[in-house]
Symmetry: C2
Subunit: 292 residues, 2 copies
DNA sequence: TTTCTTAAATCGGTTTTATCGATTGATGTT
DNA sequence: AACATCAATCGATAAAACCGATTTAAGAAA
């Protein structure tokens, strides 16, 4: 039993005339006759009564019609549904994002949703490590974060923008007056750093290791807004990309040195089918960067 | 898109391994790979992500799965339904019957329904003419009546039994004492006959025409039980097959002469598919005749 | 009746395609 | 580095869908 035969049967039932049905199906009457017969053989019961040159549905044909129709319709509807998905009139988009990129995400996301209101978007905040893991397990479609220390062969990286690594302090702190600071001065200050797993923390760990410096870590915390609140209180300092601090009212003084810069990236999986929604959203993000 | 491809996709989705799925489907891995690819091409979207040697469903595959499953299931269920029909665990049986054969019908019908309780039976009483018309238009599956004067080429006739044509009278009537009567004596009596359209009436018309006799018709009526009541009252006589009178308490004296006999028949349409239910019911009827 | 028309079934041959085995390429494992 | 595993690809083959022509049968028309 094949959909082709069901389609033939449906048309023959509707026209009750093999010759016309065959015309309508763009096949020969011979073919239609054979395919119907084959279907009847498989079902082990005639679907049509051949009365002279007329055909009429048997009870079996009458009963089977609804099943045939529904089977064909389910398949057709599945195809239509996928067409909608291709035109972004359906489907979902799962975005992973680190806190530092929220200011870029929100306007791009708003424009995307206005254009494709049928797409269900889920945004997941988390550490780079956690989000990268979820991207690799296909839980996420796209990841917005800072560049990793090591690249993963299964991932594709696309640069969004660069942001200098900064010493972050209360706006009233004397350090805020400086144009730039040295890394060795930074490690002397009491620091509140993001926990391991955050991309900037991994970057800091790596940089300090290379410079043989060890930081004065007062506190580690896995929530960036809370971390910023603590710094705002004035007792502690932290190290973050300039973008991350934007809009918080805190001071961010660039740290002097080569490579003292974070690269914001769009990360997706290599060689997996890229949803239309991902492609579109990527464009919105790149466009958002250009606007600034 | 064909059911075959949907079946392949479903299995591949369930096992998430083309090699195993192909084994389970008794096809080569090569074939499965090609058919899935063909399906994806037609749907214009990948159903699987090929990550290295692993495969995983795409969003499209996930969404399409339910449609594929339902399409295949509808077709399978249709086939199963027809199997039940073939085993008389479903379906309908429409029986046309003339009043004269009710005594044979009821016991056969009761046995049939006990054996095939799932079959929906409809019994239609009527004149032979009316019932034959409904049989020809496929409204009836089988017809139980007396032999027609002329046979229809589209109908198949099978003898059930023969019953002598009788002069019917009240049991107290002097005529009831006779062993037989002559046709010319019958036409002298005041008769109540079934209306035209009843097979016995057609037979009587024909017989009298051939014998150049004209009857003394007091009343024509199209309801046999009422006709019998009138005869029972004693003022009138009628002509019917002996079987028709059985159990009514009336006297039935055979009419002398060649061919003064009615043939009870099973009539079906020639060359139309005979339902399993019809075949079975026919057997029950013939069996019922043998029992007597 | 006979003829004519129409519709479905059948037949033989052709084209299409589903399928296979073998091979390749790529990946993860020992 | 060698090996095992899995999906993709290739070329060949077998299966099937399909067509045109013909046959068969039934209504319709002459």
């Amino acid at each position: 039993m094949e959909l082709r035969q069901l389609r033939y049967f449906i048309k023959a039932k509707e026209l009750l005339n093999f010759t016309e049905a065959a015309d309508s199906l763009n096949i020969s009457q011979s073919t239609l006759s054979q395919q119907i017969k084959q279907l009847e053989d498989e079902l082990d019961i005639p679907l049509f009564n051949r009365i002279g040159k007329r055909i009429a549905l048997t009870e079996a044909g009458q009963l089977f019609y609804n099943y045939a129709l529904q089977s064909v319709n389910r398949a057709n509807n599945g195809k239509l549904m996928l067409q909608e998905l291709n035109q972004l009139q359906a489907g979902s988009l799962n975005i992973g994002v680190t806190y530092g990129l929220r200011y870029l995400l929100t306007p791009a996301l708003m424009r995307f949703l206005r254009k494709f209101p049928k797409v269900k978007v889920q945004v997941v905040f988390g550490t780079s490590e956690e989000l990268r893991h979820r991207l690799l397990s296909l839980e996420l479609d796209i990841l917005l974060t800072f560049e990793e220390v090591v690249h993963d062969a299964h991932l594709t990286y696309e640069l969004l923008f660069e942001s200098p690594l900064c010493l972050v302090s209360s706006a009233k702190d004397p350090v805020a007056q400086h144009d730039q600071v040295l890394l060795k001065d930074v490690v002397a200050l009491p620091l509140v750093l993001p926990s391991n797993g955050f991309s900037t923390r991994e970057f800091i760990n790596n940089t300090l290791l290379q410079n043989k410096l060890s930081p004065n870590i007062a506190l580690e915390i896995n929530d960036i807004p809370t971390l910023l609140d603590l710094v705002k209180a004035g007792n502690w300092y932290t190290i973050l990309a300039k973008t991350t601090v934007k809009g918080s009212g805190l001071s961010a003084v660039p740290i002097k040195g080569k490579n003292m810069v974070r690269k914001a990236m769009i990360i997706t999986m290599t060689d997996v089918y890229e949803k239309k929604a991902v492609g579109q959203f990527r464009k919105f993000m790149l466009d958002e960067v250009k606007r600034r």
